[in-house]
Amino acid sequence: MAGTLWIGTRKGLFALRADGARRDWKLAGPQFLGHIIHHVVQDPRAPRVLLLAAKTGHLGPTVFRSTDRGRSWREAARPPAFRPVNDGEEARAVQRVFWLTPGHHTQAATWYAGSSPAGLFRSTDGGEHWEPLAGFNDHPMRPKWAALGTPDGEFLHSILVDPRDPRHLYIAISVGGVFESTDAGSDWTPLNEGCAADFLPDPSVPFGHDPHCMVQHPARPERLYQQNHCGIYRLDRPQRRWQRIGKAMPKKVGDIGFPIVLHPTDPDTAWVLPMDGQSVWPRTSVGGRPAVYGTRDGGASWRRMDRGLPRSQAWFTVLRQAMCADTHARPGVYFGTTGGEVWASTNGGEGWRCVARHLPEIYSVTHAA
């Protein structure tokens, strides 16, 4: 069984299912027609379970849970929400649940959620009831860490749980930077040394950066990769200084993008999808010629992988949750565009074909085994 690609869009949820060879893809859905679906994530500890972050244009944000591989869904009894405030405190309300991450494999019912404005939430009952994580949300530095925001507020995303230690967490904030906790989220420290922030008056600040997507390799958890607003980076802990591996990308293409995706077993292999970050930031594929770039040596070198992709006049934008890999020995790599197309490679990015089109604006593409 090849599994399912869950496609979260601005107008609902779709599923793409392939045969065992991943040749024929069948589109199902929509479910939640008219809902904005920011993220859909399978629970690797209980593969029948999926969580989904949703809202609509009118209604407040919430989380739905499925225990039957997405056939039916039930809303959380208590969705992520900030705590009540005291007089004089800023009353922040969750505008969107933007990110979902399953907890550590030893904590079977734990999930994390990230929101806009930047908030961190935890459920210890499988996503039914959510509590704000005070260690971050009420951290005295939080207003400074996430001060700049984006036009849609700051986004807390890329919540990473160290597979070796459930107390060791990373988060990323756009705009705010990367932060680390070693005590299950009670306290946090910025982790941005080496990252550029050339949009700030002082580019050497300890926080205020714009990580677009951060990933941790499951087989080598000390290794982090980051696609940032200002380049592609790698960090091998316990080092604290990110290395700009995007410097090895072709100068004409640059190293700006939203997603970064890792090979399921090889920590040296990763894929990115560069976008145009010049002048007024069109955020489209560079020159109208979309290409995935892959590295097999931890970012020391990158190779263009565009066979099957349009050769010209294709102005893709691919958002940070909208690219993923599956877990095959020769991994499938997938991405969805804001123009509603899903592209698939079943040979590690060597060749591509469009497996769905005419969908609404795609926010999230995730693989479920």
């Binding site: 244009g57 009118h58 209604l59 919430t62």
Partner: protein, 88 residues
Amino acid sequence: MSCTVRIASPLRSYTAGAATLAARGSTLAEVLANLEQRCPGIRFRMIDEHERIRPHMRLFVNTSEARELSAVVRDGDTVHVICALSGG
């Protein structure tokens, strides 16, 4: 106090499709609490965690827009839950 609540279509997944419901309460807050008891989850989609009406929601008591949940609801009133036109 007993009133009628008219439910906008985006919220009818919580009311088993019903467009109107009878509810009890002498303020909007009490009416919504009564509604929440029978339709779990509906209130948070309209009201945020700081008791504010969400930006794209509008609540009316009869023909008067209610900006606060303390708005008085009288016996026989109709509460309208309206989704403001927005987006594309």
